[in-house]
Symmetry: C2
Subunit: 210 residues, 2 copies
Amino acid sequence: MQLYDCDYAPSPRRVRMFMAEKSLTADKIQIDLGKGEQFSDWYRDINPRCMVPALKLPNGLVICEVTPIWTYLEALQPEPPLLGTTAEEKAVIAMWERRMDLDGYIPAAEALRNAASAFAGHAVAGPHDYDQIPELAARGRARVQNFYADLNARLAESAYVAGAAFSAADITAIVTVQFAVNAVEIAVPDRLTALLRWHETISARPSIFA
Amino acid sequence: MQLYDCDYAPSPRRVRMFMAEKSLTADKIQIDLGKGEQFSDWYRDINPRCMVPALKLPNGLVICEVTPIWTYLEALQPEPPLLGTTAEEKAVIAMWERRMDLDGYIPAAEALRNAASAFAGHAVAGPHDYDQIPELAARGRARVQNFYADLNARLAESAYVAGAAFSAADITAIVTVQFAVNAVEIAVPDRLTALLRWHETISARPSIFA
């Protein structure tokens, strides 16, 4: 397998963590997003949406987007399960994962892409050009604050995001929190003790370095 | 099963079409989004994100969000498969479904929610209040135009969105197109003949009335 990757980007990190948890490996091909390599003709043939991650299978099939890649990898290597085993578990983990993505990851990305000069003219990831909207960057920051508070409330009643066990929902959550803290520079308030306790627990897993 | 639904909202329609394709039924409980019933205390206990659809199982478990509900229903009633049967099919359908959602559905919703007076102060679905951003409504409209063109290019080379067979990706796509046309008032240009041919094919399925 070949993973089209970018060391410093948060989306492919979700795949790298997932693979590390399952001891899966792939040849990693770095796409330098900062230099615009995702817009090259050869990469458009891999992923017309001009994004990483993308996973190329030995038979040539290319799977793009984080959650579809996870779906494939979970079937390839079911242990340890990160997407659930029963139908109910799968649905609950998918629900929490999506909440982390829609309420955390996407607003954090909006906050960064609509403010940082590196994204001028490219405020939306993908092949189409859109101008930045400063008000959307501000709204993204406000939404990340609400995301932190909501995640803290969840983690005050649940050891992990989707329940008693570590799952893919924790991967999206931790990558989102670290992206928001480090790249978007929105600190987690000290009062959110449940979130901070969970952050410490997840940070002790070897996959955090993937 | 109980489906928390809203007749005139596009998200629960994706679940209703999915159920119709599988001849599954549920008791439908209407949540009047226009009257703000999703913000009531009793509904917050069902879904703290204050959105429909939500599916309540006989054992009391509540599953929220379209794709997790689909995951559960596909396990409950595998035939006809709408999410794929092999690991590769599942990944490819999930990839195309997500593209329809991120590039079509979300921008169409942004276009509506950041412009229509009914959503003033509630520009983002969910429990938190955010002001409308007129520039985001305009950008959403531009993105829907690009979505139409990209979908047309895909359907010029593929009978259905994810390949040779009808799948859940077609459900998200047709609900998005009809939502964008009818609610956001962005017509599909006549030149997009592949999209229009596909629209006619999908519109002949009984599930379109779900």
